[in-house]
């Protein structure tokens, strides 16, 4: 079994509005798969269908080589972890008490709780009542909760959307570690940097359709600009094409000792997205 998720011709409409149009993709075992798209493109809708919170209009979804069942299956639920964009916590209970409930529901040793709290950098707040925490801290608890049982497949719906850079990095490290231990990750984000850092492959979602699907590296090569940028000593930067004329220009500048640096113009994922869809992500 190499594909953890297999989606064929998946569509979802709400009334007469198509939120997802004929989407197909596969997620391989062990990879971190990114679903990228602007607000309203259908990311959350997709996650909801993959986790049977929402029933598709048409199409086929296989997770762990099996069609999703209508009936809830505890063994299936144990193998997946989910962080939704509105996962709630028990506000009057402490951080630890919240995780304790989940350790019992998932049959996980209570001792794991402190471990995941370290991953999300909250080890010192375990006795704090949840309602006294900031938004970002709450998001980190829900993330800790989603990974507490070390699921085979982890769904993350914009896991770092309200976090500062330090905690984002902390979470990214934790996710990479979890991924190394064998958890396949399906992640949605509109943060291109996050996708570059974490994802083995990314799908670009725009208005309910997948416009591109590849590794970040391949995408960059495919959309690489045919030019390079020279930074000169007088702080001037000039762009030259990768052709004979460009070579001549570079040669001249190099010869006169003007060049500080030369960069090939690799586009970021964000720029590629704009090229494909004509739209900014955020």
């Amino acid at each position: 079994m190499n594909n953890i998720i297999e989606v064929k011709n998946l569509s979802k409409s709400f009334g007469n509005k198509m939120a997802l149009k004929n989407v197909s993709f596969k997620v391989q075992k062990g990879e971190t798969f990114g679903f990228l798209g602007p607000s309203g493109s259908g990311k959350t809708t997709t996650i909801k269908m993959l986790t049977s919170q929402l029933i598709q209009t048409t199409g086929e979804i296989k997770v762990f080589d099996q069609l999703l069942k209508k009936q809830k299956d505890p063994l299936f639920m144990k193998r997946i972890g989910i962080l939704t964009d509105n996962s709630g916590l028990y506000e009057r209970l402490t951080v630890y008490e919240n995780l304790l409930l989940y350790s019992q529901l998932y049959d996980v040793n209570q001792k794991q709780i402190n471990g995941v709290l370290e991953v999300v950098n909250l080890q010192n707040d375990s006795k704090t009542q949840v309602k006294k925490l900031s938004k970002g801290m709450k998001q980190r608890i829900t993330l800790a909760r989603a990974m507490l049982h070390k699921p085979d497949l982890l769904f993350l719906d914009e896991p770092t959307s309200s976090l500062d850079p330090v905690n984002t990095k902390h979470i990214h490290d934790g996710l990479r570690q979890l991924n190394k231990q064998g958890t396949t990750i399906f992640l949605t984000t509109h943060d291109m940097m996050e996708a570059e850092h974490l994802c083995d492959r990314v799908a670009f979602l725009h208005q309910g359709e997948i416009k591109q699907l590849d590794t970040p590296q391949n995408l960059r090569i495919q959309y690489m600009d045919s030019s390079v940028t020279l930074l000169l000593k007088d702080n001037q930067s000039i762009v030259v094409d990768k052709d004979e004329k460009g070579a001549e220009t570079i040669y001249q500048y190099m010869k006169s000792g003007e060049v500080i640096s030369i960069h090939s113009n690799e586009p970021t994922l964000g720029e590629i997205f704009v090229q494909i869809t004509g739209r900014e992500l955020a």
Binding site: Q53, K72, P74, G88, L101, L105
Partner: protein
């Protein structure tokens, strides 16, 4: 389907810890108790009057606390987490009902003590309370599922509160035969009828009709609640 007591217990202990810090719920506990104290002061022997604190405990403590804690799980988006966990429908529903059942039972015991309600047959009384508890907790769960917020439960629950909690007080106001007959089939009325019979020396066999009606209420309430729950499980 597997049934895990461990998961039921996990949900129960979570609710218990939460209850201790929840002031909204304390009101639902205090109301029947205050009423029972009042009944004691007045010292009336009318069985209708005497049963009122117990009925209030069932309606206010049982149904309303249950509705509030179910609705709060929806309001705060925590129900989603339970639904996405390995816990089954039955485990979640039972886990969430056990605490209200325990609290309601305690309140009923306190009410009995305070109001001077005399228990003639403990086994029959316990049986009827048990059937009523199922009915009211199921109705409470359903009210909670139908509301989006805790506040909404008091609005959605108002008609229920009037019909189940106070209808017998309004009886003298009506003279419509069908309506009065209908009121007679309410759980509170059935309980009172049975209780009067037991007080007059009636046995199990004498109140079988009332017990059947109470059982029908319990089964119907549970079935309707499970259907409501199934409908609410998926997002639209």
């Amino acid at each position: 389907m597997t049934f895990s007591l461990k998961r039921v217990y996990a949900i129960f202990t979570k609710d218990y810890k939460d209850l201790l810090k929840n002031s909204y719920v304390l009101f639902g506990i205090a109301l029947p108790i205050l009423y029972a104290m009042m009944v004691n002061r007045i010292g009336d022997q009318d069985p209708y009057f005497n049963f009122l604190p117990i009925n209030l405990a069932l309606v206010v403590t049982g149904a309303f606390i249950q509705a509030a804690i179910v609705a709060e799980e929806k309001e705060k988006n925590t129900l989603r987490g339970l639904l996405l966990s390995p816990a089954s429908t039955l485990e979640i529903l039972i886990g969430k009902s056990v605490l209200s059942a325990v609290v309601t039972t305690l309140v009923i015991l306190i009410c009995i003590k305070l109001s001077g309600f005399v228990i003639v047959s403990l086994s029959l009384f316990a049986l009827m309370i048990f059937l009523n508890l199922i009915t009211y907790l199921a109705v409470g769960t359903m009210l909670g599922l139908l509301s989006r917020t805790v506040m909404e439960t008091s609005i959605i629950g108002m008609p229920f509160m009037i019909v189940f909690g106070m209808m017998s007080n309004f009886k003298p106001l009506f003279n419509n035969e069908i309506l009065l007959k209908g009121i007679d089939y309410l759980p509170s009325e059935q309980f009172t009828f049975a209780w009067i019979k037991i007080g007059e020396g009636g046995q199990f066999g004498d109140i079988i009709g009332e017990l059947i009606v109470l059982t029908i209420w319990a089964v119907a309430a549970v079935v309707i609640t499970i259907i409501t729950y199934g409908k609410r499980r998926f997002d639209k």
